[in-house]
Amino acid sequence: MDESLLEKREGSLDNDNETTTWVEYWLEGELVHRSVHVQLKRAVVSFGETAEF
């Protein structure tokens, strides 16, 4: 494959839940590669409580 023919596209998003980035490679209008990396921000939390008598 002639890598000079590849078009690279990148993107990202950031919100309260995640920071995500992705990279795509296109060849003659066809998506040939897409990788995604997600950084999770929001954990799952359980609250332990005790009852009163």
Binding site: T20, H33, S35, V36, F47
Partner: protein, 153 residues
């Protein structure tokens, strides 16, 4: 000094380690000294993974080249800990699906215990994605009482 009603922090850590057994029914055999194996499976956007999910299911799990049903093993290299009154636990490495093609949009990951009948642990959601001959990775937050992936406050 005064007495203060509370669930003890040590108990919150013990929950992660399966130390206590309040009922004799269905208690897993944790007399062994090895940790269970936990896995992470991905689900398409039409799935209904939520707090009611009790176990891993292949229904609406992603499928595609390079992806094995059931997902990948999650590494917990750091023992559960606590800070203040919050216990926490976070995988010690990113969860990575390498060289996969996942053409149907997915937006959820189920963390489950493959050693104990695939019992569900937690569901995490993110913006819907697809992957083409690439890598999908979930990078873990800092392992502390504020951002740890699993926390009992």
């Amino acid at each position: 000094m005064a007495n203060t009603q509370a669930m003890t922090t040590s108990f919150k850590v013990d929950l992660f380690n399966a130390v206590h057994a309040f009922n004799a029914t269905g208690i897993p055999a944790h007399t062994v000294s090895t940790a269970d194996t936990f896995k992470a499976a991905l689900y398409i956007t039409t799935a209904t993974m939520n707090a009611s999910t009790t176990a891993y299911s292949a229904t609406n799990e992603v499928s595609g080249t390079g992806y094995t049903a059931g997902g990948v093993t999650v590494t917990f290299g750091t023992a559960p800990s606590s800070s203040g009154t919050t216990s926490f636990l976070t995988p010690s490495a990113s969860i990575t699906y390498t060289t996969v093609t996942l053409s149907t949009s997915f937006d959820a990951m189920l963390l489950y215990n493959s050693t104990q009948s695939n019992k569900a642990v937690a569901v995490y959601t993110f913006t819907a994605q697809t992957v083409a001959a690439g890598t999908f990775s979930l990078t873990m937050p800092t392992n502390d009482a504020t951002t740890g992936l699993l926390r009992i406050a």
